[in-house]
Symmetry: C2
Subunit: 256 residues, 2 copies
Amino acid sequence: MGKIIVIANQKGGVGKTTTAINLSASLAVAERKTLLIDLDPQANTTSGLGIALGNGEPSVYEILIGEKTAEELIHATEIEFLKVLPSRSALIGAEVELVGAISRETRLKRALAKIKDNFNYIFIDCPPSLGLLTVNALTAADALIVPIQCEYYAMEGLGQLLKTIQLVSEHLNPRLKIEGILLTMFDTRLSLSHQVTSEIRSHFGAQVFRTVIPRSVRLSEAPSFGKPVLLYDIKSAGAQRYLELASELLEREEVR
Amino acid sequence: MGKIIVIANQKGGVGKTTTAINLSASLAVAERKTLLIDLDPQANTTSGLGIALGNGEPSVYEILIGEKTAEELIHATEIEFLKVLPSRSALIGAEVELVGAISRETRLKRALAKIKDNFNYIFIDCPPSLGLLTVNALTAADALIVPIQCEYYAMEGLGQLLKTIQLVSEHLNPRLKIEGILLTMFDTRLSLSHQVTSEIRSHFGAQVFRTVIPRSVRLSEAPSFGKPVLLYDIKSAGAQRYLELASELLEREEVR
Ligand SMILES: Nc1ncnc2c1ncn2[C@@H]1O[C@H](COP(=O)(O)OP(=O)(O)OP(=O)(O)O)[C@@H](O)[C@H]1O
Ligand SMILES: Nc1ncnc2c1ncn2[C@@H]1O[C@H](COP(=O)(O)OP(=O)(O)OP(=O)(O)O)[C@@H](O)[C@H]1O
Ligand SMILES: [Mg+2]
Ligand SMILES: [Mg+2]
């Protein structure tokens, strides 16, 4: 039960949040019990699903510092099988406050231990950095999905990310593995998209998901309505591709 | 002499590096002596200008930890009046290593003091976070340019950024002010672009630059040739808008 999948890449704006929201929503409509955790102080996953925390309302920050349990902060969404652990800007403080704390890297892992088996999938959306929040996510994780934008700078940061994964799997989490590399914002009209895609496939081979997410304006409009794209426009290319990605993920599970 | 302008926004992928490279290149071709500092461990500014550091070659990391002076590490570019202080992934270590160091926030400011008057403009490209690297940049700065993508999540992080600017100006740098807010990746065909733009203009009024940067594929292709867009395709909309932005900035200077 309970496979924890982290969505991470320190390069900014590559589609981490968009993947976290739409992949988890696609699995939830396939009736897999899914929890989505927002571990970014920007809280884009939280607002992208239309969740607004009231003044002083606790968030994943209180879980990391030990004031609340994960169970207490699970929020429902419009989709029955999709739940969310929301974030807020207070989370910015966690990186600094936990620097000197005991076993600061395993806070999230320990907080999720009790609820892990209540879900089929737990996704964690990360901020665009390799700091303590992302290390907490990688330490708690079973697997990692790396979204990569089909643009020139996409390949630059991969070396650093792979080094961090190596360090985490050596010292904190030996079971961590890459579930897959996801190509995002692919534009068939641009030769750059084709060049980057073929370079990434030649580097990473079968680790790259078959499903490629196209640039699709519906994907960037959906969060302004607080909805995953499949509730905003199910016929759009963005919605269809994320449903396909969910099936590709489930296919891999069944085969194992 | 020597106006230090920081390009910052913790939201990822909004065009910080693209603005840092192309605005500084546009000022350099107008024969303003310009230094561009890459303060992001991803080193996209460095590679976007075709600079490749050899094994063990020092970077801005060695300046922050005090092993090298800024003067020693200035690199030339294809444009006579444009120089660069390059970055590399070792910079990731600075955030952790400097946490306990004395006056960790003013390292960059002190390193730039000796060379500041050799340039008309010094630009600093920041990583997508509000950690010690960005705080060092804001402490050294005279002014700040905030690129904002014309997308839904654009407004979300602004509150946090403004709070950080407030803290820096109260405790570390009373002269810090917002030079301007720059709208990037504007697509005239998308209603979302128009909605976000009018919302940002109504919030920030005259602080928003008149010049708006359109989504332009030439801008995303240029870094793969290691060139600013004005050397790659001067006639493109991207190149023309950044030249206009440089004139708008110079106009403001002349008026003051
Ligand atoms: N396939 C797509 N087509 C069009 N727009 C997209 C697509 N994927 C994401 N976007 C838009 O691009 C922007 C960046 O995406 P997103 O916020 O998901 O990236 P991120 O990696 O989570 O960013 P950050 O590094 O700031 O956390 C958002 O405005 C989003 O709506
Ligand atoms: N106006 C534009 N039109 C088209 N593509 C653009 C434009 N501006 C930037 N890009 C592309 O979008 C991507 C993100 O831009 P960029 O890397 O400059 O953002 P950033 O804010 O520096 O990202 P990070 O948060 O990772 O530092 C890059 O691939 C870049 O080439
Ligand atoms: Mg995100
Ligand atoms: Mg950048």
